[in-house]
Symmetry: C2
Subunit: 211 residues, 2 copies
């Protein structure tokens, strides 16, 4: 599978065979990749602009030619995160029969939670509205609505009206589960697995407790 880390490493630094040129060529992408690495390894606090510059073999002021400030870099990283997330959701959808609405619903939720657990720090930044104000980053805002749209379609075909309300409730439930798992707020046990919790959430949304 195409993972984010493999994506990043291609840009991190020119391969040793290539001559080191004054102009990096793909500095913007390299900075995003380096920042993503730091984000995944040490969390937001570990995203150090000067260290990012060092990792890409460039002076500490060079990033300012591509990003207005540190938050702009993080916004770009978050944007990539959303692209990856929606891609993962699309892929998950593709492996389920189109007429199996309930199965698609479950597959989306599993993909969402799996992605969150694989990239906890990234996930947190993606949804950190104050750190990264969506109003200041239009393209981020656009991408972030795609995963919502995917869920919308499945809900509409499977459960019908009121579609928006049901999409919101579903999204919130899955998102909340993912975040609590990330924050280690839900003690897991052999009989309480991640997959089990996701399935229980989907079942509840579809049928409720009293069913």
């Amino acid at each position: 599978m195409f993972t984010m880390s493999t994506w990043g490493s291609a840009f991190l630094m020119e391969s040793s065979t290539e001559a080191k040129t004054y102009h990096h060529g793909q500095l913007r992408e390299a900075l995003i990749a380096a920042g993503l690495t730091l984000l995944n390894q040490e969390g937001v606090a570990g995203v150090d602009l000067r260290k990012v510059a060092r990792m890409t073999g460039v002076s500490h002021a060079a990033p300012y030619r591509h990003f207005a400030d540190k938050r702009a870099l993080i916004a770009a990283i978050a944007e990539h995160g959303f692209a990856q997330l929606t891609a993962a959701m699309q892929t998950a959808l593709g492996s389920v029969a189109v007429d199996d609405g309930r199965g698609q619903f479950l597959a989306l939720a599993q993909a969402y939670v799996t992605f969150a657990l694989a990239h906890p720090a990234l996930m947190r930044e993606m949804f950190s509205g104050l750190t990264v104000d969506r109003a200041d980053y239009p393209s981020l805002y656009a991408v972030s609505k795609e995963s919502f749209g995917i869920l919308w379609g499945v809900i509409a075909r499977t459960f019908g009206e009121p579609v928006e309300q049901r999409t919101v409730v579903s999204f919130a439930s899955i998102h909340g589960l993912a975040l609590l798992l990330i924050e280690n707020q839900l003690p897991l046990s052999p009989d309480k697995t991640v997959e089990g919790l996701v399935a229980a959430t989907i079942d509840t949304l579809a049928s409720g407790f009293t069913a």
Copy 2:
């Protein structure tokens, strides 16, 4: 009502009538209050240890007599946040008839979301497991489980087994809704109010989409 800001201001600095002593007397509480103010106003990034010290009229190194480092201060703030949250939930519970399980469930959810919207930055820090590793702060860990316990009791009395699973799913759903609202990720409209979304979430958990 007893608000957090009123709690804090009492400790911020000695009232002007009192003489300024070498020993502050309640520096720890004052630092927490000042940090909370900054957190609510500017987010985590705005919590500046030196500014916190300035706000409480003390040298910039004084906080280190009460907190090992910046994260310890934030952990203490988060701990206070959990206490406030559980208190708000308890209060909400008290204003609903004990035999009205569904009403209690709804009241808890409303209180949770209301608290989150009133203190977004605090709420985010409270659940930011990486920034504040719960394993390093035992008392934080203990307090953070109380609100979960309150919900547990209501779920047990109202919906029965499997209680733990239902509590987890409910908590995740309400938490997710609160966080998405905080992050401005859910566009509100006149016909899609916060109260309406909370009610829809509770209804869904109880009865499901297909009911």
